[in-house]
Every structure is written in C-alpha cells, then in structure tokens.
C-alpha cells in the first residue's frame, strides 16, 4: 500500500522541510519513498507544496494529486487541496491561519492551532513540526523514534541546535 501525503503552505513555513522529514522517516524504516517539491517562482514567498509517497512497493507517479494525508498550513492551501483528499483520508490544518472548517464527513479533519502553539512555546517557525507530531500520532505511519532519527539526519550539521527545538515541537503536536 502507498500512502500519499501532500504538504502545502506559504514559502518559508517549512513545508519542504516537513516533507523531507517524512521522506527520511521512510528511509529510516526501509520503505520505498519519493519526495517531490513544487518548484519555480512560487518558492519565493508564494504557495509551496510538496508530495511525499511512502510505500512497500516501488513508487509510480511521485506527484500526489489525491492525498491520503494533507497538511494545510494556510488558507489558500486549505482551499485548494481540502477537496482533493481521498475519502477516508486525514487532513491536518493549522487553525491559527485557517479559519474555515470543512463540511466533508468522509475524511477526518484535525484543526490544530499549530502556529499559536509553536509561538507560545518559543518555537517560532515550528508550526510545521507541531502538525507533523499530530500527524504521526493520528496516523501511526511512523513512531517517535523514527522521526527523531529522521530529524537528526535532515538538520544540517551546522544547525545541530535546531534538532532539540524541532523535537520539542513534534512532542507538542503529539500531545495536542
């Protein structure tokens, strides 16, 4: 089975980074996986999104059009993608920045004030990791140990001090 994940938000919110963490989780668990960013002008402050596929089988198309799991970090991304989530899928929404509530009953929507949580815990810019924490808790796709290993791998050696903060944000999300 292939789990298709779509992460979307503003450029600068760490959408691609969060996707990379998930991809590295797949690597740590010896899964087949792919990570595909949107690229081009939208990377410079517009909307950014990234497709992550995790599977036991070889990945066909790496482009996620109908995600099993959606992370929506802002209003435009929520509007654009909420209706593309597969029936039975899950959406994780930053409710600090997204006011809307979906009327879809065939998917599970989790509204997490992730920006507020991150800011309130002195973890500015950690909204992505809060959402990721909630995602692994609700989907069980990876456990905490895996995500810890993944973050240690993704964070460049020059920014080791950020590992702690990222893990703190993950835990906040898991416990929300």
């Amino acid at each position: 089975m292939t789990t298709e994940i779509l992460l979307a938000g503003f450029g600068g919110q760490g959408v691609l980074f969060a996707g990379k963490v998930l991809a590295y989780c797949g690597l740590m668990d010896s899964k087949k996986l792919s990570w595909l960013p949107s690229y081009g002008p939208e990377m410079r402050g517009g909307t950014a999104n990234c497709s992550v596929c995790i599977s036991d089988e070889p990945i066909g198309s790496p482009l996620v059009l109908t995600p099993d799991i959606l992370i929506a970090m802002n209003g435009p991304s929520y509007d654009k993608f909420i209706n593309s989530v597969k029936s039975g899928g899950k959406a994780f929404i930053d409710s600090t920045l997204v006011d809307a509530k979906s009327d879809r009953t065939d998917i599970d929507c989790f509204y997490i004030p992730s920006t507020e949580i991150a800011d309130g815990n002195d973890l500015k810019g950690g909204s992505n990791m809060v959402l990721l924490g909630k995602l692994i808790k609700e989907t069980g796709i990876f456990n905490y140990d895996t995500i810890q290993k993944a973050i240690e791998k993704v964070v460049p050696a020059s920014k080791m001090h950020l590992i702690e903060n990222n893990l703190k944000a993950i835990k906040l999300g898991m416990n929300y």
Binding site: K20, A23, Y24, G26, L27, K32, L33, S34, W35, L36, P37, Y39, G40, P58, I59, G60, S61, P62, L63, L65
Partner: protein, 352 residues
Amino acid sequence: MERSLMKGNEALAEAAIRAGCKCFFGYPITPQTELSAYMAKRMHKAGGVFLQAESEIAAINMVLGAASTGVRAMTSSSSPGVSLKSEGISYLAGSDVPALIINVQRGGPGLGGIQPSQADYWQATRAMGHGDFHVLVFAPCSVQEMVDMVVKAFDTADKYRIPAMILADGLLGQMMEPVSFPEINPDSVDKSSWAACGHGNKREHHVINSLYLQANELEDKVNERFKRYEIIKENETDAELYLTDDCDILVCAYGASARIVKSAVNSAREAGIKAGMFRPKTLWPFPVKELNKACKNASELLCVEMSKGQMIDDVKLAINCSKPVSFFGRTGGVIPTPVEVLEQIKKIGGKI
C-alpha cells in the same frame, strides 16, 4: 549498501564525479540548477574543475576543449539551454570527441515553462545539431537510474568516441528518492591515440577537427561514423519490459511518464485488462528488437508522453506500422495522471 536521499539533479552530479568526470561547465537554468550547485560544492574537493560559463554556448565549448584533451567532461542544462548547446554538440560529434550532456527537460517551445516535459525527444534523437550524426541518449526513470546511467553514458561515450546525453526532466531532477552508489569502476579508455593534450615532442601532432573541405573525404568520415552507429545499434540498446508476455495492450513510455504508466498498467491488470509496459532506457539507439518482442502478443500499442507525440514515431518505425499505435500525452509541463492513462487503456480495451 547504504541508501541516502538525494534529488535527481544532485544524484546526477555525484554519479558523474564518481564516474571520473574531471570537469563541469554550466550555466544556471531551472529546473537543473541543483546540479551546477552540487558540482560547485563538490568538484573542487574531488580534484576536478567547476566553472560557471558566460553562456550555454561557452559551456559546451569548454566541454569541447576539455574533452579534446582526453578528460571526462560534462555540461548540463534544460531545454532552451540545450538548444544553445546544439552547435557545440554537433562539433563534438563531428570531431569524434566523447562528452556528456544532461538535459533536464522543461516545457517549450521558446522560453516555454519550467515544469517537467518530454518535448525534446525529437531534438535529442534526431536533431541535436546540424549534420548527419547521432548522440547516445539515455532516459532514466528514477533517481537510482540517473546514477547508473551517468556511469554507463560516460563509459559508452568513451568506448565509441561519441557524445552522450541523459534525457531527464524536471520531475526526475527535482524529486528525491533513496539512492545508493555502487562501487563504481569507470572504464579507463586509452585516449592517447587521439587526445590533443600536448605531444611532448614524442609523436605527431594531434588535430581535433570536424572540417573536411573535400566532399569525398567528408563523406568517408561520416560513413565511418555511421558504421560505428550500426555497431552501437546492435549492442547498446536497453529497455524494461513489464508484464509484456501476455499483454493485449502495450503501453510505451520513457522516463517520468513510464512511472505513471506503470501505475496505470497495474490498475488495468486489477481491472482485468491485460496491459503491459515497454520502457526504452536508450532512446538512441531505440530498442527495436526489445519493442518487437514486447508487443508480440499485443493487438494495439499506446504511446504516453509528456509532449504532443514524438517517441511515437520511433514506436511506429520500430514495428513497421504493423499494429495500430494510439497516443496520449499532456504537454506544456502538465504531468499526465495514472487515472487519465488508465482511461485510455480502458478505451482501447473496450475496442478489442
């Protein structure tokens, strides 16, 4: 073997360095720029040369200069930039100088777009510059294959003294997948019989040249090259055949399109349609024998490309138009979906 996560563009660069590439000359263009950036970081440490040229034209000519002295040299670009390189590629071919050119395709014509495309198939396989010549064209469909094909491309180019191209696209260049680097032992081809690297007063001077003012002389030269092409066609084709033994409908696709087609073929099988896939890994030489084997039992072929239909010409030629070949493609940077391809397969399936 340890797996790491890498973008296609970066994997191409790392593989080239490991394959003994000693110099990279390039010019920034989306969506291949990570390749240049990776080279800028790594090439010096690997004891090679990285240089950002003033243009794509200068870059390919720097490759011509470096490769003429016998070192492994490469450049990379994306569609509009590859057009600029075509002059230099023709000179490489006409001078029998092996080198590697990477095209991470984007939509065209003109400035086109920056999203993935496969609209440069004709250019790569038929018109990579003026004159009677071919370049080797390899078409990877995964990040791992990008690694493997870079090594293969350098080796094959050296073996036959012919330029080689990796024809990728923005999707493959930008995506990350697990990749492992096998112990690479690049073929060490002795180039001392032709390389222009200074004769040291020990031999006649070597001339790297593509000019032959006597028509007969030029014809002989081109004929000699085409004899080599025949040997290449005989020995260097490669293709993946997927579920083709019993297939009714054979879907033909290369590169990123083939990933989408594979998903669609799997879905078709689940729906009881006997579909299979033919994926050429070499576009020139085109795997004619392999295609004929793959479609032996098929009653219809479907070609899927991220273009308006270019490889379909080679598919039809390869089977001598002996079976109906239909086409489905998206262009301009739009990536076809497995659902769309499945619909096409079902449409054909309904007819059978």
